[in-house]
Subunit: 117 residues, 4 copies
Amino acid sequence: MTEWQEHEPIYIQLAQLVLDRIIRGTLAEGEAAPSVRQVASQERINPLTVSRAYQTLVDDGLLEKRRGIGMFVAAGARDRAISNERQRFLEELWPQIEARIRLLGLSADELLQGGAA
Amino acid sequence: MTEWQEHEPIYIQLAQLVLDRIIRGTLAEGEAAPSVRQVASQERINPLTVSRAYQTLVDDGLLEKRRGIGMFVAAGARDRAISNERQRFLEELWPQIEARIRLLGLSADELLQGGAA
Amino acid sequence: MTEWQEHEPIYIQLAQLVLDRIIRGTLAEGEAAPSVRQVASQERINPLTVSRAYQTLVDDGLLEKRRGIGMFVAAGARDRAISNERQRFLEELWPQIEARIRLLGLSADELLQGGAA
Amino acid sequence: MTEWQEHEPIYIQLAQLVLDRIIRGTLAEGEAAPSVRQVASQERINPLTVSRAYQTLVDDGLLEKRRGIGMFVAAGARDRAISNERQRFLEELWPQIEARIRLLGLSADELLQGGAA
DNA sequence: GTGGTCTAGACCACT
DNA sequence: GTGGTCTAGACCACA
C-alpha cells in the first residue's frame, strides 16, 4: 500500500506511478497493466479511482484499452513517456527546484554527497 | 496578484510565500506582516484564507499575534525557518528529486553545474 | 443541540466534547466519528466549524481521516487522550483551581459534601 | 506583565485580577485602585481596555468612581466579593471541575488532600 | 484600524 | 455519501 500525498488527487499520483514503471521498463510495451480490481484491492482504494488514473494514461496514448481484456502498454510508450517527462522536468520542475536550492543557500556538494552517502 | 497552483490549497501556498520572504529577509524579524485584509484584497482572496495561512505560521512559531494590532515576525524566525526548510528539503524533497533525475537518465551533477553557468 | 459557552470558540468546545466521548469510550477506537454534515445539522452550526473542531483532533492524532469515507477514532486514541488530559489538568488547571479554593477560603469538606449532596 | 488567556477578553481577565486583590486584601477598602494609565502601561494594554475592566467592577458595586481623582474600593467590597465568588465557584465552577476529575479517573479527595500536603 | 469566529452556500476529490 | 477548500459577508474583541 502506497502512502498518498495529502493534497494531490490519488488518481494523479497513481498515474504517475504507472508512468514511472513504464519509463523504468518494469511495465514493458505490449504488456498488460495490472487490472483495475487488482490495483484497487492492493492499494485499498476505489476501483473508480484506478480507472481514472488509467484513463489519463490512455488519453496520453501510453496505455491502450482492449475491451474485455484489459489495459496494455502502447507501442513506443516508453520513449514518449521519457521524452515528455524530461521536458516537463527540465522546463517546469527544475527551475523551481533550483530557485529553492539557492534560496536555502545549499551547495552542490551538500546535495551530491548527501545523495551518494 | 499571485498565480496559484492547481491542487495545493491556497492557504498553504500563501504560507510558503510568507515563509520565503522571512528566509529572504524581505520580511524582517520584529516587522509587521501585511494585514490579513491587505493581503486578501491584494491577492483577491478571502480574508479567511489569509487567516489560515498566517495561523500555520503562528503554529510554527514564526509569526506572533498581538491582539488588535497585527501579526509580527517572531524573534529568531529567520534562522528557525531556514533550518526547518533545509532539513525538509534535504530529507524529504531532494531524495525524491534525485530519484526522478536518475529515472529520467539525467545527471544531478550537470543540472547543478548548469545552474551555476 | 448543545449550549455553547460565551467566549470559547465553538470549534474548541466541540473538539472537547468529542475528546470527552473518546475518553468515556462512547466513541470507541476504530469507530467512525459522526460525519461533519451530521454534526453540523444536529448542532445547528456550520460544517466549517465542525471541520475545524475535527481538524484539531486529527492534528492531535486522535482522529484519522480516510478520504471520501469519513473520520475514525485512531488506534490508541483513548489512552493518549486520557494521558494528555490528565497531564493538562494536573499541571495547568488544578494549580489554578487550588489557588482559587484557598483564596476563597473553601474547605475540602464543603467541596466534597456539596458534590455528594 | 500578565500572560493573557487566548479566548477570554482581556478586560474580563483584568477585572478578575483586581477582584482577587480585593478579596486578598492587598487592595483594601477605601484605597485607590491603580490608575488606568498606570495599569495600561504596566500591562502594555490599551487604556480603554483597563477602563472597561474597571467599569465592570463599578457595575458590581465593588469600585467607586470619584471624578477627577480615580477609582476607590467601595465599603463592604471585600465581603461582597468573597460571597459572590464563593457562590459562583460552588454553583458553577466546582461541579464542572468535579465532573472532569471523575472523567479523568482522578480523585477529588486526594487532590484536595494533596494540596494540603 | 487589527485578527477571530461564524454563517450560508458553492465546488472539488474521493467512495 | 465523505471531508476540504473557498467565497462573501457579518459580528466581536481589542487598540
